[in-house]
């Protein structure tokens, strides 16, 4: 991976990194190209002070001090911004790590120009989701043909992360002007981190099912395991379901009916709006990360038990996976959960119209689909969506990662509001799993004992 940044390109690449989050937080509206730093402003005027004093006192050494100041001012004024002709390469020690792995990033910058770059400052465009121990920044001086290296480590998290162009600042020797450019390090550097899908404890589903057999017990009598009812024998009933005991006792033929176990269609919907990126503190994973984790456990568990599973994101962008079964479908779900930009570990700033989304989602949702809605319930609208989908006949189960904290009155109030949303949903007949600190499997076991069919 290598790329060249030259003078002409440095001023024309203004569109890169314009998606808000990658702009230098210190200088968000910093202009590109040659920027006067203004650090020597007033030097010439200041130089006149000793000159004036020298004239008043008729003392030549003071005038000479003034001459020195004028020399510095002239130096700063005559000093042109350096021509930036550098090649930047970026290498990752492992472009496809597992979550939590440390990846070493090596950034090499070579001065291809004829002149010395006396003050070169580099800020690498590290993806916002990747945490670095030390900042990915370098300040150096570079002679023609020489290469400087910046090495730093990032900790991999789920997702496909693209590096932004390197922010390069080259100052002239006096520091009076600097050239500000974004230079691509060759093609895009991408770190792909795809976690394995791990099935957790089986997920208790609600009664809405398809016509296919599966493991969700229904209220329909037929073939199955759990006793449902008996009825009169009809011609054609299988002999193994005839109630022979009753026939022996009374001589009448009757047929046993069992609860039919059918497969369900489940759409796992993840709330990944900007407002759902919440965490109780800076170190904890945010609610979207936890929602994706819940989905990553639910999807294989459901697929293993023969249910049809689809995935959707309640977020900007078109993140939907039609319900399906099979290994190939599981692989597709894994890829979508890991790398879809709508489920990225940091929010996008795309515009989002929730009402339109709900309308489109309903149109897309199969009529017999249940919805597993993963949301931290950050606002009333998330609860409204759950109730509306439930009212349309899609049995909704809410898995809600708790992102509230109780360190300040404001945080406590947010916690109370969320608790109210949970109890309102429960009183509306919607199952809510309030997912606190414990592992999801434990919480599911506990909830399964509580929930009736």
């Amino acid at each position: 991976m290598s790329g060249r940044g030259s003078d002409s390109r440095a001023s024309s690449d203004g569109s890169t990194g314009a998606n808000g989050r990658n702009v230098d937080p210190l200088n968000p509206i910093r202009p590109r190209g040659v920027v006067p730093t203004g650090r020597w402003t007033g030097m010439a005027a200041l130089a006149l002070v000793p000159v004036g004093l020298g004239v008043l006192l008729r003392h030549p050494p003071l005038v000479l001090v003034g001459a020195l100041g004028v020399a510095f001012a002239a130096y700063a004024r005559g000093d042109a911004a350096p021509d930036l002709d550098v090649t930047i390469e970026r290498d990752l020690s492992d472009p496809t790590p597992d979550p939590g792995d440390e990846v070493t990033v090596t950034l090499r910058v070579r001065n291809d120009g004829d002149g010395v770059l006396p003050d070169l400052r580099l800020v690498d465009g590290v993806p916002a989701a990747l945490a670095t121990g030390a900042p990915a920044r370098l300040g150096t001086a570079l002679r023609p043909g020489r290469t400087a290296t910046l090495t730093y480590r990032v900790t991999a998290v789920r997702g496909a992360h693209d590096w932004d162009p390197v922010h390069v600042l080259a100052r002239n020797p006096s520091g009076s002007r600097e050239r500000d450019a974004r230079i691509d390090a060759g093609g895009t550097t991408t770190l792909r981190c795809t976690p394995e899908l791990e099935a957790s404890a089986s997920l208790p589903l609600r009664g809405l099912t398809t016509v296919y057999s599966g493991r969700v017990p229904t209220d329909v009598g037929g073939a199955g395991i759990e006793f449902h009812s008996t009825r009169e024998y009809r011609h054609g009933d299988p002999a193994k379901r005839v109630n022979w005991a009753r026939y022996a006792r009374t001589g009448e033929l009757s047929t046993l009916a069992f609860r039919e176990e059918r497969a369900a269609t489940v759409v796992v919907c993840i709330d990944a709006r900007e407002g759902a990126y919440l965490a109780p503190d800076a170190e904890s994973p945010n609610a979207v990360e936890r929602s994706v984790e819940a989905a990553s456990q639910a999807v294989p568990a459901l697929l293993d038990s023969g249910d049809r599973v689809g995935v959707a994101a309640f977020a900007p962008g078109d993140c939907r996976l039609d319900p399906g079964v099979g290994d190939e479908h599981a692989a597709r779900a894994r890829k979508l959960l890991a790398t879809h930009p709508a489920l990225a570990p940091t929010p996008t700033d795309e515009r989002f119209l929730p009402t339109t989304w709900v309308r489109r989602f309903r149109r897309w949702l199969p009529a017999d689909a249940q919805v597993l809605f993963c949301t931290p319930l950050p606002d009333d609208y998330a609860a409204t969506v759950a109730r509306r989908l439930d009212a349309y006949g899609h049995a909704v189960t809410v898995i809600s990662p708790d992102a509230t904290a109780d360190d300040t009155p404001g945080h406590r109030l947010a916690g109370v509001e969320r608790a109210n949303r949970v109890s309102r949903l429960r009183s509306a007949g919607i199952r809510v799993l309030d997912w606190g600190e414990e592992p999801l499997a434990t919480e599911l076991e506990r909830a399964a004992a509580r929930w009736s069919r």
């Binding site: 650090r39 003071l62 004028v70 730093y152 940091t346």
Partner: protein, 237 residues
């Protein structure tokens, strides 16, 4: 619930060490050149020890927030205050008292600017500190204390001290001063280039003196310099 922060751009935003130390040393050189008497030099030495203790303590306190750092800061402040007090009261000639005080205060302010305690005020403190050093140099010139050479070199050292300090802050803002962030090459290159220019300018200015400025009408010299400034301000690049 709080919005999850991004850790990617976390960096230590304070002035870099090498340029900061160079700035304080250059400031000390400037004050040392205008100090004529042994007594003044002794007080300056004391002040320098105080300023170094203050700077070291500030850095320790910034990193570990321990009592040692805070103690060193307080000790440094006391030593500087004592040196400044002596510099004002002890020297027999009033002009010697006048030229040393702004120098010591300037050094102290410059060190305070580069100690990473209140980074927001760094640029202001650097301006004030270098301004005080410059006042000390000017005072020495006004009272006709130091020789022409010492005065010009002290002025150059003052400008270089400001340049290095400002560069330390500028690097601190753009690149940061995290222990693992490497900026030494760039800092040294900047100091050396500015130092080279200063040396050239000093040699040129002193060369002009040796050409016999005294025989030149004084007004002609001043007019030449003012014309130079006007030409400079009028030139657009």
């Amino acid at each position: 619930m709080t919005a999850a922060p991004s850790a990617a751009n976390r960096f230590l935003r304070h002035s870099t060490v090498v340029s900061g130390v160079v700035a304080v040393i250059l400031g000390a050189v400037a004050v040392g050149l205008i100090a004529e008497t042994t007594l003044q030099r002794q007080f300056l030495m004391g002040a320098l020890i105080g300023v170094s203790t203050f700077g070291l303590g500030g850095r320790l306190w910034h990193r570990w927030r321990g009592a040692v750092g805070l103690g060193l800061v307080v000790c440094g402040c006391l030593v500087v205050t004592a040196a400044a007090g002596n510099a004002v009261t002890q020297p027999p000639r009033i002009i010697h008292r006048l030229e040393l005080l702004p120098g010591i205060l300037g050094l102290w302010t410059l060190a305070a600017a580069l100690v990473p305690i209140g980074f927001r005020w760094s640029r202001l403190l650097i301006a004030v500190g270098s301004g005080l050093l410059f006042v000390a140099v000017l005072t020495s010139g006004v009272v006709r204390g130091a020789s022409t050479t010492a005065l010009v070199v002290a002025a150059a050292a003052t400008i270089l001290a400001w340049d290095a300090a400002e560069n330390a802050v500028s690097l601190g803002v753009q690149v940061g001063a995290h222990p693992e962030t490497v900026t030494v090459r760039g800092e040294l290159a900047h100091v050396m280039l500015s130092g080279g220019l200063a040396a050239g300018a000093v040699v040129a200015v002193l060369g002009v003196t040796h050409l016999g400025v005294d025989s030149l009408p004084f007004e002609a010299l001043v007019a030449l310099l003012v014309a130079g400034v006007v030409l400079l301000l009028a030139s657009h690049r």
